[in-house]
Amino acid sequence: MMMNNSLKSLSKLSPGTVIHGKWHRNQYTIIKELGNGANGVVYLVRDSSRQVALKISDNPSSIISEVNVLKSFTKVQGSALGPSLFDVDDWETVGKQFSFYVMEFIKGPNLLTFIQQKGPEWLGVLLLQLLADLDVLHEKGWVFGDLKPENLLVNGPPIRVRCIDVGGTTIKGRAIKEFTEFYDRGYWGMGSRKADERYDLFAVAMVIINTAYPGRFNKTTGGISQLMGMVKQKPELNLYQSIIKNALSGNYQTAGEMRRDVLAALQPRKQKSDAGNQVKSRSQLHRNGAKRNVTKKKGGLFETALIILTLSFLYFFYIYVQIL
């Protein structure tokens, strides 16, 4: 789409081409192209023993910026934030120098494709995983920035959503480095482009909307009215309606808050064994769950206890299922 000339030549590397690292002397043989964008081209390559992904660019600063982010993710123990980083180097070829980094190859379709193939019930689970990752990322002082289905690959089994392309990942409080209009709250006239948690959560809501509108849609009036109007037209978004609204309006302060509401929304609302009474309290619970952090309504003590109890039960159940 938007490429300068030397990037174009980079996207023409044919299978079998060997990329030699100038500093670390590693060699990578190109298998095929995985994708390209504004910042470079990503190839599936083979090193001495395995398949890895290699991102190459004619712009050393964008490579180093992304490497900086990936390195700081490595320090977050036991997390699955971004692909693991293996190597950073330059490649000198016919008088030109390119920079590249080598990372874990994340095999799998992107989030939208995955849900189209496997069914809408997967959306909830993937959202829980994504929001848990974002929570960690935010805690470390980062905002992901360019959050969109193309940058969310679903790997597995066990099924796990993974964020790739840290080109937009920005230190909290700074201006978002890179974004895509449809997922950007600035584009919709719903806030600034200063990196904060809510910026990412807005994008998560747009990803949810995107699952019902795979072709996306354009801005007309913008604002919450257009977006919620689109949401209401799609029955498959009913389940997430209040969550979407809260995320778009910036009502969630943390990914954890949004995650709790997703978890609550995923609970069965009717069960045969449930007494009518219980069903009612469950659906109430759901509604309160969605509003809890928003209106700060004070519920009864008993109700609160019930919510906490049920939520923690469900959470343990969820973990139990995950372990299985």
């Binding site: 600063s61 180093i64 209009e181 584009y187 600034s192």
Partner: protein, 246 residues
């Protein structure tokens, strides 16, 4: 480190100049005076001809900036990307000069092993966030641009949204060429946000000629005119801050 205020000209056009000085010569002149020129070529269904493309790339190359040709639907994203890329490029240049003094010779960041580049890039990133930025926007309002102007307006509003998310301050001004009776007309004096554009753009009239060269020349002189003693004091403070951070 000496960064002062970054000065950029953002030229938005759809083709070739046909009057006055050679725009590439004027771009070279701008660069000599510390002003970077970025060029965005806007296409509709039509394609920009070879000559127009050459001119667009030539101006950016001589003006030390970035160029990009896009369809008008992609204008918003491109405008902000090009501006940021050019900022990084300029700041990178400043940092490289600094490096040369420390390391000697003609060392650039690329001459250092990758492990050593990370910290330098952090400094560049931080400068990009905090540096003061002046962007003078030069809009081609020749007849063929008429129906693209609403998109240009949207893109500029979007640009101010992006840049105003930084902690460093921004100032924008907008010129159109050709102007009503003159080659270049000032539409908007230096201002931190572009909201007022909305009214100005609807009153724009378009003309037949494309005096790109004279427009750039006029734009450079506009950078030179302004005096701001208080601001330069402030930016000196920033420089000290940058010195500490490297």
């Amino acid at each position: 480190m000496r960064t002062g205020t970054l000065k950029q000209i953002l030229l938005i056009t759809d083709g070739c100049s046909n009057q006055g000085e050679d725009p590439i010569a004027m771009a070279t002149l701008a660069r000599e005076q510390g002003v970077t020129i970025n060029v965005i070529g806007v296409m509709e269904q039509d394609v920009i001809d070879d000559q127009g493309l050459k001119e667009i790339e030539g101006i950016a190359l001589s003006g030390g900036g970035v160029s990009q040709v896009v369809y008008s639907q992609q204008l918003s994203q491109t405008v902000q990307m090009v501006t940021r890329k050019a900022m990084t490029q300029t700041l990178q240049g400043v940092v490289n000069k600094e490096l040369q003094q420390i390391l000697g010779g003609t060392k650039k960041m690329e001459d250092l092993p990758p492990e050593k580049r990370g910290e330098i890039m952090e400094v560049v990133d931080e400068l990009g966030e905090t540096v003061e930025l002046d962007v003078l926007i030069l809009v081609d309002t020749s007849a063929s641009m008429t129906h693209k102007l609403p998109t240009v307006k949207e893109a500029l509003l979007d640009l101010s949204l992006s840049l105003n998310a930084r902690s460093g301050s921004n100032r924008f001004s907008v010129f159109a060429f050709p102007g009503k009776k003159v080659e270049v007309e000032k539409l908007l004096d230096w201002t931190p946000n572009l909201e007022s554009l909305t009214t100005i753009f609807s009153k724009l009239s378009t003309g037949g000629i494309t005096p790109t060269g004279p427009a750039i020349k006029e734009a450079i002189s506009y950078f030179q005119q302004k005096k701001r003693s208080l601001r330069s004091m402030l930016s000196r403070d920033d420089e000290q801050f940058f010195e500490e951070s490297i």
